[in-house]
């Protein structure tokens, strides 16, 4: 009874569920790394660390501009590194998921192969 139920699921809705699980995990990564927010604020100053010109003098304005550009640059760099990590995690998840999809039908019988290799 157990085996019948198991195989019915494994070759039925179980196999179909793999892509759904991949999508769920990718969504989790997107949320965990706040990718939507990161993309929206990619060039925003880091922690809104912005400077205002102390006067209208060109020098002051230029200083403020440089300060803000540095803040934006730091923000950009940190976000890009973070995005890169997220992309790696997504790639890993998708590759693992696709591999699982491919080996899925053979997986229940693979232990026989391992037993054969181990014992003979």
């Amino acid at each position: 009874m157990v085996l019948f139920s198991f195989f019915t699921w494994w070759y039925g809705s179980g196999w179909a569920q793999v892509p759904r699980e991949i999508r769920r995990r990718v969504n989790f990564i997107l949320q965990f790394f706040s990718l939507k927010i990161i993309l929206r604020t990619l060039f925003a100053p880091w922690k809104r660390d912005i400077a205002y010109a102390r006067s209208t003098a060109l020098e002051d304005r230029f200083q403020a501009l440089i300060g803000n550009l540095v803040s934006r640059f730091i923000g950009f760099i940190i976000r890009v590194i973070f995005m890169f990590t997220a992309v790696l995690a997504i790639i890993f998840t998708v590759v693992f998921g696709v591999l699982l999809m491919i080996v899925w039908p053979a997986l229940p019988f693979s232990p026989i192969l391992f037993l054969y290799w181990g014992l003979l």
């Binding site: 009874m1 494994w10 569920q17 927010i37 922690k47 940190i78 973070f82 232990p111 391992f114």
Partner: protein, 809 residues
């Protein structure tokens, strides 16, 4: 029934349900552990060149496959909603944890036997205090067709929005369909609605503790990277959103989702986005803001454009404590608001906003700064205010209030309060290591709405339920625990009368007569009102009793009120007296209705009643009051409430209202002296008062009874003196001295003290002059030592008091 026929046949779901039961949580954990161990060991063996390591991969893969099956499929057997799709197949309709247990049950008793150990069945047994044996007896004596039970369970599941028929819905259905239980339920005051409500409670528990939920990431790691730091704000405020994120508690408030949506809409507006939450103290204004913070943190569609904004509650105490430390409040507030504005993800919350809008101890008036911020920026601010404060500020700070959008929190109804109390019951139970019954929850609502008037729901319900934990009834919290808690905190008698109290009630007349002489009719009338109230047969919407006492001065009208307070209420201090001769002008109406919440005014009439609802309210000499005040009295007697100047309703429903008047006193005396019996001319006398326009007929009609007091006869006055001497002895008992008067001494006091116009009142002075003075001399000269039992004659009093020989005696 709806004509449905339910069928049952085993299918793949029922098979899986059996497997899930076999693989309990510990077994699954063991499998997870084993698969990792086999995998690691296999790899390790291969690395050191042992080919047999491959063998270990086999169990690791099998365990991995089973775990996938378990997690992706078996634990989710209750996905789908067969109740909504009106299925009649029990193998689909029944929840997975019972589908194999009861599918084949052919009698109602078998059904019960199959589920009686399930926690959801035990829930009804425990929370409704219905013994298992009684259920078995009932189903044996009066079996119900299982089809009828299933149909009812289906109906209940649909009614309580459950996806499946659960052990709980089957239990409730068994209890509701078996006629055997009807009489017992009636006796235990359990209705159909109660059992359905119990099922709602159960669904709440399942949703909260048993359903699998996706982990919420609250926006992820980089959520606040584009928002500024808030160093000053952090020092003077509490970030509610961060507390929620840290997992302090859940605040989602299903009952008020519409208010949360409304707040989100207002805050999202491009201008005028300040919100004022206006509701009485205890209505849950702060928890609503917590729920809003939680909604925004989740960042889903409900949060709209406010996703991931954070709510920071400003702390008035911390701000005021900086006064005098160099930095001006204006400057500090500027920095706080700058932080919040600069960060761009902050909503400021001013809980008890009056603390930021007036100059009083612990408060600080920064309303002008708040107004500037609201006018000049898009900074969202939420203020929580009571209606009284809103009313007050609408006059003094109208410009600021005009910047805000007011949201009046609707009052919660009984089922909403029950949901909240049920929710809070579980953590309370685990803290107090006890169990709270359904009747306790129900009683909490009833008792709190009737007896707690200084707060609103849900706070007052939560307070009462928490207090009830101190009064367990055989180890659990029942309706009696709740009643005990209310009795202790309010003084109202709500528990079933004890043997002693029942004795007191039945002999109330005798007890009162120990303190006062004659006036049998009056004593009987008020005693009967109390007995009616205690037996629960009075109209709960009106005061316990309302009486007009008419008669000359000094015949015991006030004394009866005082005796009643001392005998049956918690003491003479539970009498609230108002001398109506002090309210002769139309403008005095405002003094009676003075706001109960205005702390600048000391004791006020309505505040006394609000704090001591279970009391004797004595309104002396009513004929002297202004007619407008008599109109207030009409409302008090009719509706059992008065509304103070701030709009707060004060209840008189637990009070006895005694109104006294000397009007027509001379007429009563004349008729009694002419030998007429009091009872014979009562009606005629009342008519005379109405005809003479002393009292309006509508007022007279409002009283439960109008009682005439007659002047006391000389022998009754002697008894009054004896009571007074008894009271004197109580005072003297500290010195172990007692005094007794001879017959001639008693007569002397009556003769000296009696004044036909003033009744027994001057006798107090006579007693002082003759008896107390004599005694004090004897004590000071050492004649009366501790242990002395003095008997004083008229001659003793005459000589001992130092009274002049021409005093008339």
């Amino acid at each position: 029934m709806n004509g449905k026929t339910f069928t049952y046949s085993r299918n793949i779901r029922t098979q899986k349900a059996t497997i899930v039961r076999l693989f309990s949580k510990p077994i699954v954990t063991l499998l997870k552990f084993a698969s990792v161990v086999f995998l690691v060991a296999g790899v390790a063996m291969l690395i050191i060149g042992m080919k047999v390591g491959y063998v270990l991969f086999a169990p690791a893969i099998w365990a991995f496959m089973f775990l996938l099956w378990h997690q992706w499929d078996l634990v989710d057997l209750d996905a789908g909603n067969p109740v909504a799709s009106a299925s009649t197949r029990l193998e689909e309709l029944l929840s997975a944890d019972i589908v194999n247990r009861i599918g084949k049950a052919d009698t109602s008793l078998h059904l019960w036997e199959a589920i009686r150990d399930h926690w959801q069945a035990r829930f009804f047994v425990n929370r409704f205090l219905i013994p298992t044996e009684v259920i078995e007896q009932g189903l044996q004596a009066n079996p119900v067709d299982v089809e009828v039970v299933y149909a009812k369970a289906f109906e209940l599941a649909a009614q309580t929005s459950q996806d499946h028929m659960t052990a709980g819905s089957i239990t409730a259905a068994l209890l509701l369909t078996c006629p055997y239980f009807e009489a017992g339920f009636a006796r235990m005051k359990i209705s159909t609605d109660d059992l359905t409500s119990g099922l709602y409670w159960q669904r709440q528990i399942i949703d909260r503790y048993f359903k699998r939920k996706e982990r919420n990431l609250f926006g992820g790691l980089a959520r606040d990277w584009a928002n500024g730091y808030t160093p000053v704000l952090d020092k003077f405020g509490e970030n509610i959103s961060k507390s929620i994120e840290a997992g302090y508690s859940m605040f989602s408030d299903e009952t008020r989702e519409d208010v949360i949506t409304q707040m989100i809409q207002i805050i999202s507006r491009p201008s005028r986005n300040g919100v004022a939450l206006v509701a009485p103290v205890g209505s849950g204004k702060s928890s609503l803001v917590y729920a809003l913070a939680e909604t925004m943190l989740k960042g889903d569609d409900k949060a709209g454009g406010l996703a991931y904004l954070q709510v920071v509650k400003l702390d008035a105490n911390r701000i005021t404590s900086t006064i005098g430390q160099g930095l001006s409040i204006e400057r500090l507030m500027e920095e706080i608001f700058y932080d919040a504005l600069h960060a761009q993800n902050i909503i400021l919350f001013l809980d008890e906003a009056q603390l930021f809008m007036e100059t009083a101890p612990g408060s600080i008036d920064i309303s002008h700064i708040i107004m500037q911020v609201l006018e000049q920026t898009r900074m969202p601010i939420i203020l929580a205010l009571s209606p009284e404060d809103w009313h007050k500020f609408s006059i003094t700070k109208s410009a600021l209030l005009a910047q805000l959008t007011k949201i009046d929190l609707p009052e919660l109804n009984e089922s909403q309060v029950a949901r909240i109390l049920e929710d809070i019951a579980l953590p309370l139970e685990s803290r107090a290591q006890t169990m709270i019954t359904y009747s306790a929850i129900k009683e909490t609502y009833a008792m709190a709405s009737r007896y707690v008037t200084d707060k609103a729901f849900p706070a007052k319900g939560i307070d009462v339920l928490q207090d009830a934990l101190n009064y367990p009834d055989q180890g659990i919290i029942t309706e009696n625990s709740v009643k005990m808690a209310v009795e202790k905190t309010t003084g109202a008698k709500v528990t079933q009368a004890s043997q002693v109290e029942r004795g007191e009630l039945l002999n109330l007349e005798e007890l009162i007569h120990r303190r006062m002489i004659n006036q049998f009719h009056a004593v009987k009338t008020v005693s009967e009102a109390l007995r009616r109230s205690r037996a629960g047969v009075r109209d709960p919407k009106r005061p316990v009793g309302s009486f007009l006492f008419l008669g000359p001065t000094g015949v015991g009208k006030t004394e009866l009120a005082r005796s009643l307070a001392a005998t049956y209420f918690s003491g003479e201090e539970s009498m609230i007296r108002l001398d109506m001769s002090e309210y002769q002008l139309a403008t005095d109406v405002a003094r009676i209705l003075e706001a109960t919440t205005d702390s600048s005014v000391g004791s006020t009439f309505l505040r006394d009643v609000a704090t001591k609802p279970f009391s004797v309210v004595l309104l002396d000499e009513i004929e002297k009051a202004h007619p407008d005040i008599l109109n207030l009295l009409l409302q008090m007697l009719d509706e059992g409430t008065l509304t103070d100047t701030s709009g707060r309703v004060v209840s008189f429903k637990e009070a006895i209202i005694i109104v006294t008047s000397n009007a027509g006193a001379d007429e009563i005396r004349r008729r009694i002296e002419a030998g007429q019996q009091l009872e014979a001319f009562e009606d005629e006398f009342v008519d005379q008062l109405i005809n003479a326009k002393i009292f309006k007929p509508e007022l007279m009609n409002r009283f439960d009874d109008i009682v005439l007091f007659r002047p006391l006869k000389p022998d009754e006055l002697m008894q009054v003196v004896q009571i007074m001497v008894g009271n004197l002895n109580k005072t003297l008992s500290a010195q172990n001295i007692s005094v007794e008067l001879t017959a001639d001494a008693l007569q002397m006091i009556v003769q000296v003290g009696y004044d036909p116009r003033l009744g027994a009142r001057p006798m107090r002075r006579a007693l002082q002059k003759y008896v107390e003075n004599t005694l004090s001399r004897k004590i000071l000269t050492g004649e009366a030592q501790p242990g002395a039992r003095l008997t004083l004659s008229a001659a003793d009093l005459q000589s001992g008091s130092g009274a002049d020989s021409d005093s008339g005696y």
